[in-house]
Symmetry: C2
Subunit: 401 residues, 2 copies
Amino acid sequence: MSDAQKYPLSGITVLDLSHVYNGPYATFLMAMAGADVIKIEPFEGEHLRSRGDMGGAALPFAMLNSNKKPVTLNLKKDKGRELFLEMVQRADILVENFAPGVMDRLGLGADVLHQLNPGLIYGSSSGYGKEGPYRDYPAMDLVMQAMCGVIECTGYPDQPPVKAGAALCDFMAGIHLYGAIMTALYERERTGVGRTVEVSMQEATYASLASNLGMFHARGAAAPSRTGNRHGGLGISPYNVYPTTDGYVVLNAPGDHHFRAILQVMGRSDLKDDPRFVSRSSRVANFTDVDALLESWTTTLSKQEVADLMLASKVPCAPVRGLSEVMNDENMHARGSLQWIDHPEIGRVALPHSPLVFEDSPRKPIEPSLPLGAKNDEIFGKWLGHSPEELQTLRSDGVIS
Amino acid sequence: MSDAQKYPLSGITVLDLSHVYNGPYATFLMAMAGADVIKIEPFEGEHLRSRGDMGGAALPFAMLNSNKKPVTLNLKKDKGRELFLEMVQRADILVENFAPGVMDRLGLGADVLHQLNPGLIYGSSSGYGKEGPYRDYPAMDLVMQAMCGVIECTGYPDQPPVKAGAALCDFMAGIHLYGAIMTALYERERTGVGRTVEVSMQEATYASLASNLGMFHARGAAAPSRTGNRHGGLGISPYNVYPTTDGYVVLNAPGDHHFRAILQVMGRSDLKDDPRFVSRSSRVANFTDVDALLESWTTTLSKQEVADLMLASKVPCAPVRGLSEVMNDENMHARGSLQWIDHPEIGRVALPHSPLVFEDSPRKPIEPSLPLGAKNDEIFGKWLGHSPEELQTLRSDGVIS
């Protein structure tokens, strides 16, 4: 279906039954690496598409569905499942993130598909995995953050815990799923045989709490569950979010040389021998004084001024950037990992390319996400070889739309 | 070096120069998938090891370095670089997460290594990428969270923003790096040629803010930067963290049927026709009343009791679990993705296996992380073929330890 080998995944065909963030992120990475990704949706569209812009879903849909070929297919009809099996015979990879058991109930479980195509890589993702005591628990990002310990570790110690603003459980699962599938694809080149691989949001999130788990291991019940913006192990100062005239900056300056540089930037080198500040342990013991000293200076400047001055002296520092700044990031736009695209449905927006950079290959041009079923004729007609008459019958029988 | 093909990456040799979380997580996944991972460290150990247990680094080190073969090598000596190049000739993959430019300054850049071994996959990870205006900015997780917008989106709207407790920028980069390397490994099987791939923490984090970016796109300046534990789009109620007798629970119940089930569980079906609660939009408009109603009930029970009752009625709910509960999670232990291991250095601890589950292969047994340089004799002696006398000279010359 593809042009000649040009990108790492040129020539690979992916059947994508997945929805919202988790699976679609995995298949987005495949599409941007050159695979043909056929996005198979029910007539109402996958959950994220069918939300329209209610709740702000339009941009996320566009972000995750560039360069995919959307088709509609009714898997609840026998003929729909037949068409699906025709596609399976020609595909390399299948991705789904239904609740465990859904594909089996459709008669489309991994065993059935592997009998038809032993080379297929069957990749699935779920909240808690296909087997295990929690397999049937609901798995939204908020719920997973609670179960995985992320919420307990986020926020100020004297206040209720708070969720992380990023949907990290969803995306951690999606990128792990990509990794598992690529591993199996490599293996297939050696063995000729495909595999079933799976990822759970719970397992994909676990390692990201390494620092917090380490502190708990080291200190037990004495370890604080959460430390606001202070160091998770309360072992570094300055380490905090500091107010400025127009927002906040973060500083993370573990070394004595960092602190001497900070004093110099602030014009307070007179404090360089102050016993409260001479060593990391003394700064940690006097963190309130350290933070007050910093604040007395940061509140006189803008966040970008503070960051520029600190960075010029090699002190790890950054402005706390809002989403407008993030979308307009000059580094990502310079690198081509964010690009301004005129999207036919939602206008001019910044769309991400893949974070996976393959040097010596050009980045595949971003093709904006397409309307529901836009590739029905191409996929069911040209690729599978059904005639216009057959497609008409499929439409009138409610198999495709 | 390996036993017969048994795991997906059996027979693959990885040279791992990486440190702390980002690179070591990528190579941990490779080791658990069957690769031989040679962990090459300076004499003082990589940063995470050399911290010892100061700041709680012991468990994170053990979590990320199972099944690796640690060697010491002084890359600042000519002879050290020679030994390294001997290894490169026999390796499939190299992983490093030094600051951009470090490997080039050592004379060990990707070009040099590919001349020696055109099949090598050279994978690197950094904060902002090897090229671009921010390439030399410092890149710790806190700083990256600020730059990527994660901090701005986390916390309560009437309070300063707060970092996510999980080190998500570090781990997002690590797993993306794994995915990029596996893609190149697959491609090498087809083309015979290795690749340089790279990942930046900034780019790897971007997509995880899809919901927040979407809300900003839809509502512009009217969109709240952060919403505490309420829905990011303020479009669902109940959706919050609720207090109980012994901690908190989360509830995320978008559907009218969810709310009717909640009322039944609470014994308050008398409210089912209350105009404040009959539809999603009315609940969102009256979210304070919704939350107060929920709280009046959740505060009478333990978090597990609330969660059990809600889950039994298919309402998405979970206890906000502390780290002790997370480490002891029955689902992950039942699945083998967490295992109790008697670690020779730090005692009995829960260690994670890989989140990448390859069905029909047994999980590779977890081998606890080893002391610095534990495999010097095996790697420099047996594998590279240097005699005991040569190893002795290398030791006395300060090339290995």
